[in-house]
Symmetry: C2
Subunit: 466 residues, 2 copies
């Protein structure tokens, strides 16, 4: 689909030369005989001169690019090898999911009949489908079919979908996944992986493993922690399992409709909107407190709801007609709601102190969202008072910025989330290669503490970015 | 000395156009009057055509780069702003150094009269000179003159040379630097830096600071630790000051002559060579032990020596005629000797358990060096026995690999160390931008421990890579 590339420069050049020379010869044919030689000579000289210029420029470019590859190591696109996992880890998961819900009677031969279901942790599907695209031009990574050529190894287990085939907290739902047990799948993946020579070669450092749902791979994550983990946040990961240096934060796949209208506040009558589960574990306790504080406010819509098609429709409507959209922490610091708000051009108000955000090297979230620390947010009157001080002009600025970055959160966009995820993954390669090379030559030594390279953040923090 | 770059392409093009047009006008002047118009028309058409071609190619390149900038953030070359530091921090240091040694009577107006002296921590000079080159094509970074455009800020204080103007451990050498006090310079730099708006803006995260000598900036390093430090190793830095994630390891500037001959062992009669200080502090205690073990071995040359022109000549001779060159830890884990060995095609034998190595993402040092852990190396007979088992074929393989990577250690090479340092620095940008954006929006929170992102290494280690 990205096939409409211009012809190569060389072809274009050739065609045009032919045209120009034909025109030239027609024009000089008549009155002049001796001068013809002069003209031809001049034209040839001119042609030769420019041709040389062009060629030398090309060569220069070529040589310097070649040098870059040979000498600078990582300047060429990163090469990714996708494991051909046993079917049960990919299409098999979709199949079990569909069978458990009665959508499918039994296994199918033709995988194109299987439709990956819609949910918020769909990145695993998009990345898998992307690497399977025959034409991958425009992608920041190259897929290689020979593992010996690979910089990175992608493990395409549908770990998030696998979790939901037989939901953890609902063993008795209609259809029990026909004996499907996610934990067994996780163990099975590790068994399979640990038999691979490329996995053993570098202890998994150069492997990319997706576990977008904070619970995905929970049972075995400690055995894959050396790899680049593609996650939603570090809420369920230990300090030695996940880090901004090693891993990539993925956006959720937004569930509500993208707002296609322009910036503006006319049709956004309510100040603040939230719809979702009022009661959550751990970091999400704040939700109930916010409900108590906000449900009395006139221009605030805050509703408890469980996921359903109906509530999704209502949430779309609410987010498209509100100036601000609340994002409180859930069971873990991140949630789909943030990305729903972004594509709704509804300025996110983030009350989640430990949230990690996708693509933060290229997105300055202060420009598109308001951050408020939990302690301040639960002070009576604080939040609405703060938001009411924001001028229309400022809201429009936020919306303009939201429009600019929206593309990063559209998994379906050909130059959207998937490309950006691969770019983020690519950025890890130099450090991965360094660590691999270094690990191989490290000799035995007396270490007073673990040998870690760290980047530490400012400890102070602010109350709000407004 | 890195000035011999070709003229910029634009200039070349202009000059040649003028030449060609002059030649053309001379040739057509005489016999033809009417055809002159035709010729001129043709020439102009031809010129315009090619010019458009050239420009459209340029534009294409430009547009695609622009796209990259808008959406993919960091795909364009990293933009570096070099501070115009007060003269005393750059040329002033060279001046004081020369004056302290009697090579200069007093300050000079013309800085081109100042020659940066030869020593092993000369990267500060090469980077400064590189950024000052008018034509920087081929460099992985772009220099910008407007700090508002910069991704990174380079602080070109000659911190390593400054240390030696008045050597620390020799206050009474001839000439005392005429009142020059390095510590005051360090403090002065910080005072100056802390007045800069760009320094304050991101707490120094986006600043690149060179302190190649392990003692350089020792008094103030804690105040610049947020920046990308360009260092030889982390021997004198705390865990919170230096790390592989944030900083860049530089090679020393080799002091002995590059070996220009081919691979081979015929002229390399001795097995192992070392020349240098037998007695060192801290990590260097192993040296004396190695001397005791090795000085009786027949095919090993191990000599105590202090730095001098004579000893350097002898070391060149020794390294060019030995198969292996010993690199024991010195006061800190790194030393110039490793790089002398590399350019001598003398296979380094590294006995320095905590050494960090430059450019380890693109160089697999196991291919060019032998690593031996300290405990094994000091066992009687172990080291020579190990090295004697290495076949000629294997030594030739090491030498072949050494030849391939030599370029990385040649500061004078136009596509050598300096470009690679900038490439390494460029690689830090995405993480720096992420940390800057993140720091600005982090709200107050209760942290059980510092907020660090880490990458931890294998804890086991091996006895030797052979």
């Amino acid at each position: 689909m990205i096939n409409q590339r211009p012809k190569t420069r060389a072809t274009q050049k050739q065609h045009s030369h032919v045209k120009t020379l034909t025109l030239a010869s027609k024009m000089v044919r008549k009155s002049i005989i001796k001068p013809t030689l002069v003209i031809v000579f001049l034209l040839l000289a001119f042609y030769a001169f420019f041709n040389t210029k062009l060629n030398s420029a090309d060569t220069l470019l070529y040589v310097s690019r070649e040098n870059a590859v040979v000498f600078h190591g990582n300047s060429s696109p990163v090469k990714v090898y996708m494991y051909d996992l046993p079917r049960k880890f990919t299409y098999g998961v979709i199949e079990s999911f569909a069978m458990a819900r009665g959508g499918l009677k039994g296994p199918v031969d033709d995988v194109s009949l299987l439709k990956y279901p819609g949910h918020q942790h769909r990145a695993e599907w998009y990345l898998f489908a992307d690497l399977n695209r025959p034409d991958r031009s425009g992608s920041p990574v190259t897929r290689v079919l020979d593992p010996a050529e690979a910089d990175l190894f992608y493990v395409p287990f549908f770990s998030s979908l696998s979790l939901t085939v037989k939901p953890i907290r609902a063993a008795n739902v209609a259809g029990d996944g026909l004996g499907y047990v996610d934990e067994e799948m996780q163990e099975g993946l590790i068994e399979w992986l640990e038999e691979q020579g490329y996995w053993k070669r570098n202890n998994g450092w150069d492997h990319v493993i997706i576990c977008q749902d904070p619970n995905a791979l929970y049972k075995v994550v400690d055995r894959v922690k050396n790899g680049v983990l593609l996650v939603s946040d570090f809420g369920r990961l230990g300090r030695d399992q996940g880090s901004l240096v090693k891993d990539v934060i993925l956006p959720y796949s937004h569930l509500i409709k993208t707002f296609d209208g322009d910036v503006g506040v006319e049709s956004r009558k309510s100040l603040l909107f939230f719809m979702g589960n009022r009661y959550r574990k751990e970091g999400g306790k704040i939700r109930d407190m916010l409900f108590q504080l906000l449900e009395k406010e006139e221009d605030v819509i805050i509703k408890h709801s469980a996921p359903s098609r109906e509530s999704r429709r209502a949430a779309s409507q609410g987010m498209h007609t509100s100036k601000f959209c609340l994002h409180p922490a859930g069971d873990t610091p991140s949630a789909c709601r943030l990305f729903d708000a972004i594509v709704s051009l509804c300025v996110p108000v983030i009350v989640s102190d430990y949230i990690e955000l996708p693509f933060e090297d290229v997105i300055d979230y202060r420009k598109i969202a308001v951050f408020v620390d939990t302690n301040s947010a639960v002070k009576p009157g604080y939040l609405v008072k703060l938001l009411r001080t924001v001028s229309t002009e400022r809201i429009l600025e936020f919306q303009q910025e939201l429009k600019k970055v929206k593309q990063y959160f559209e998994y379906e966009d050909v130059n959207g989330t998937v490309n950006e995820i691969w770019r983020q993954v690519s950025l890890k390669v130099p450090l991965i290669k360094l660590m691999i090379n270094r690990d191989r030559r490290l000799v035995k030594r007396d270490l007073p503490e673990p040998d870690c390279s760290c980047l530490c953040s400012n400890q102070s923090g602010i109350h709000t970015t407004l």
